[in-house]
Amino acid sequence: MSVSGSESAASANKPKYSKFTQQELPACKPLLTPGIVIGAFSLIGIIFVPIGLASLSASQEIVELIDRYDEECVTASDKIGFIQDSKANKACTRKITVPKPMKGPIHVYYQLENFYQNHRRYVQSRSDQQLRDKDYKDPKAVAKACDPEATTGDGSLIVPCGLIAWSLFNDTYAFSVNKKSVTVNKKDIAWASDKNSKFGSNVFPVNFQKGGLIGGGNLNDKLPLSEQEDLIVWMRTAALPTFRKLYGRIETDIMASDEITVVIQNNYNTYSFGGTKAVVLSTASWIGGKNNFIGVAYVAVGGICLLLAMGFVVLYVVKPRALGDPAYLSWNKEAAEYSH
């Protein structure tokens, strides 16, 4: 075979060259040089510390009043018996003094502790189809979804079914500031997306709390579910065992040293499981509620990064190394050691 013949046969077998298959795509090869390392840590420090300080100051400006009332509102020794007695007078008056001026709208929350709305069985006990569509009446599917609160004793369906709706919180609060009563705006406390699409405007409560045990509050039969905002807020299950839910808003301002009187209807039974209840009044800001954590965290991380930047500066000065010097390859270093 002639040389040129074998060459043309070889080039006929050669695969088509492409940058992808030959792994020669153009690429940038970033490398951590001392400048990049120190620059990155310093940049993080310089950005994070001011953000942290701004968050801390925003959090300090928020005025938050928490009043835990479940212990003191029940004076009877048998707390559970008292709370389950439907004829007992459960009204309780609490006084809160306002330390700093509070600008409206002031958010009123109820806070529960040791209440696991994230319990697996509890969270699954609902039927979203039933909440939205009044014609959804598949009894087997509803019973499976809402077990154990799906039907009454004689088998008729409960609307809304499930443990979440059944355990609806039903303490009420009536506020007065300096003896003048203040209205709490209970409109638009639920998410608009829930009111419009998740809870039907033609679905009405049926047989609610008629399953044998009463787990919480009652619902107005005449209002459709899309307008039952307390229920909608309650059914958006909380993530953690200590949580708050929006009760309403006070639209007016409250001055410092004003005295707020809350008349609480202490209906909800948290005594059976060692839970606590509190009423919370809080002003609003871009950072949400009063929480120093985010500010402290930002300042801490920014500070640590600045310390790391300084530490690396010291290290680079004390132990410099020329980048890309072949003398540092392990076989060259061994040769240098041998030759000494």
Binding site: A27, V37, S193, A238, T242
Partner: protein
């Protein structure tokens, strides 16, 4: 570990017994090729097979195995810490769809693409310094220390992803679906950032897949939260409208990455491996060849 290379029928039994058998397809026929793991046309191709492709394969496999354990451990540990706060019932705050899509979509494609395309040193460097092959023989890319370090990083990052939102939202009105969305998005971003920090060669395909996967995750979270039947309906829209969400996302990603970055910066500069020196030689070679002196060309 033995490699046997041969081209004739008498080499077949040797090729079969060796750990890696290489057959030459040539003048003595095709029996050696049929019995071998790798086949080539000439004996001299053995050099690039070992020094270039063998080295790349070792580095890619070692990193991908470590990374896959790490990314799944990070996600599962985030779910695990939540169990402590659900009265030990196994509720997952992250929606089941997101948990499924995590391995399938949110973190799979960058892994595959990096495993195929990334390389630590170029062909010419590896052929010029054959002793770089020793990195594989010394188990430098996959050993017990690296595995333990990986798992510790997974532990740290899962703690950061879980507890920073926990402390920020502890006594608030946050719902399970909203917090779950934050945890899911933060996990995905952290895990992909870890990969991004370790990628050595960024070509356009790797860029598309890494950043595209994060974008795809956000899109999926929006789609999942737009299905009215699911409990998380509307959650992502609600929580993304709050400034606190974005602040938390930023601090979670940075705090999770700081230890990895610091360890990487320290070990690459003060205890450099041969591979690291090789990378620097490649990058600064052009600078070192400047006519009038370093950096003055």
């Amino acid at each position: 570990m033995t490699l046997a290379i041969g081209d004739g029928a008498n080499d077949v039994s040797m090729i079969q017994m060796a750990d890696v058998g290489v057959g030459i397809n040539g003048q003595e026929g095709g029996q050696a090729v049929m019995a071998s793991d790798f086949s080539m046309g000439q004996f001299r191709f053995l050099v690039p097979l070992l020094l270039v492709h063998g080295h790349w394969n070792y580095q890619r496999m070692g990193y991908m195995i470590l990374y896959n354990f790490y990314k799944n451990a990070t996600f599962v540990l985030v779910l695990f810490w939540y169990v402590l706060y659900t009265s030990f019932t196994l509720t997952t705050a992250i929606t089941e769809w997101s948990s499924l899509l995590y391995t399938v979509l949110y973190t799979s494609l960058p892994t595959i693409v990096v495993g195929i395309l990334d390389k630590d040193l170029s062909k010419s460097t590896l052929l010029a310094y054959p002793k770089l092959y020793g990195s594989g023989q010394r188990n430098e890319k996959y050993n017990l220390n690296l595995f333990v370090l990986n798992m510790l990083e997974a532990l740290w990052q899962s703690l950061v992803v879980f507890y920073i939102p926990y402390f920020a939202y502890r006594q608030s009105t946050i719902g399970m679906s909203s917090l779950g969305d934050l945890w899911a998005l933060a996990s995905v971003i952290v895990v992909n950032m870890q990969l991004a920090m370790d990628i050595i060669r960024w070509n356009w395909i790797i860029h598309v897949f890494v950043w595209g996967t994060i974008a795809a995750t956000v899109i999926c979270l929006f789609v999942i939260d737009s299905i009215w039947v699911l409990p998380g309906y509307g959650a992502i829209y609600h929580i993304m409208g709050q400034g606190l969400f974005w602040l938390l996302l930023l601090i979670i990603v940075v705090t999770a990455m700081v230890p990895h970055f610091a360890i990487k910066a320290f070990s690459e500069h003060f205890v450099p491996s041969d591979i690291q020196i090789g990378r620097e030689i490649e990058k600064f070679e052009a600078l070192n060849q400047c006519v009038y002196g370093p950096f003055i060309c």
